[in-house]
């Protein structure tokens, strides 16, 4: 049939705008993902709180964990959030070099955080405690910080992918950069909470 050879455009419509985030469906998708991820972390933190405050003999974290070292890690992650925001600001002004520079710095920040966490873990495992030999203190610590560390790692991979494809972003097409930024800021936000509840309280 000749009709099969002709594309039918009578039903073409503009793609629908995302209701909550008109500029990008991906942004809404990321927000929804983060809301769910917040539930995962929330569940782990809630379980940690219930276990900890149900046990009057829970050790004081600052006597076992290295708080100053971890404070530097916190500072590092906050800095990487700033470089992320600067990366987005750069591409919003069409500055590709700035985008790549700040994305690179964000990735380096994430890698340094992971390196420091690896150092912290090896010190703890060698001299203090492992996942299983210090009861609930050890297991809640490693699961909570480890789950977060996995998020940092996947964030670094994700950021690297965006950096590698950074040539295609422009002043008007940078939703992907904004979206990776949302993920990265979420990872920072969760760390702020974990640092407070696991190390300081």
């Amino acid at each position: 049939m000749s009709q099969a050879a002709v594309l039918d455009h009578t039903l073409d419509v503009e793609p629908a705008e995302s209701p909550l985030t008109p500029e990008s469906w991906g942004k809404l998708g990321m927000w929804l993902f983060l809301a769910g991820d917040a539930m995962s972390f929330g569940g782990l933190i809630a379980a940690y709180a219930a276990l900890r405050f149900g046990d009057p003999n829970w050790p004081i974290p600052s006597t076992i964990l290295g708080v100053p070292f971890t404070a530097v890690m916190t500072f590092l992650l906050i800095c990487s959030s700033v470089t992320m925001v600067k990366a987005l600001e750069s591409i919003k002004h069409g500055d590709h070099a700035g985008l790549r520079k700040f994305l690179g710095l964000t990735i380096i920040g994430g890698l340094c955080f992971l390196g420091m966490q690896a150092r912290e873990y090896s010190h703890l495992i060698e001299h203090v405690m492992t996942l299983t030999n210090k009861g609930l203190f050890g297991s809640t610590f490693f699961v909570l910080t480890g789950f977060h560390g996995c998020h940092v790692f996947s964030g670094v991979v994700y950021l690297t992918c965006i950096l590698l494809s950074s040539g295609k972003y422009t002043k008007d097409n940078h939703n992907s950069v904004e979206i990776v930024g949302l993920y990265w800021h979420f990872v920072d936000l969760v760390w702020i909470l974990i640092f407070t509840f696991v190390y300081l309280v």
Binding site: T21, A46, L51, G54, I78, G181, F186, T196
Partner: protein
């Protein structure tokens, strides 16, 4: 289209975050006798920092309000559920501990 607004001063937010982190470290040094106050202060400081990151770095302050609700209401609901169920858990854990 991106909602038109002035770009927030990101460096100012950064300095606030650093200052609040230093404040948290200072509060953590409070003596044992003031533990309840210390915990309350730490929780407050942590949530203020989290709010700064969410509102300015994640741009929530400048998005449609309903998006902020999508992000914020689930954790609030979680908090409510924990508030309702925690006394039960705490009692159960306490009786187990007391029995030993």
């Amino acid at each position: 289209m991106d909602i038109e607004h002035e770009e927030p001063n990101y460096m100012k937010i950064f300095y606030w975050l650093v200052a609040l982190t230093v404040a948290e470290l200072a509060v953590a040094q409070m003596p044992e006798g003031m533990r309840k106050l210390m915990v309350a202060a730490l929780i407050a400081l942590a949530f203020i920092k989290a709010a700064l990151v969410a509102m300015y770095f994640m741009h929530l302050k400048f998005e449609k309000h309903i998006l902020a609700m999508v992000a914020v209401i689930p954790p609030i609901l979680l908090g409510m559920f924990l508030f309702i169920t925690y006394p039960d858990t705490a009692w159960r854990l306490f009786t187990q501990w007391a029995a030993h």
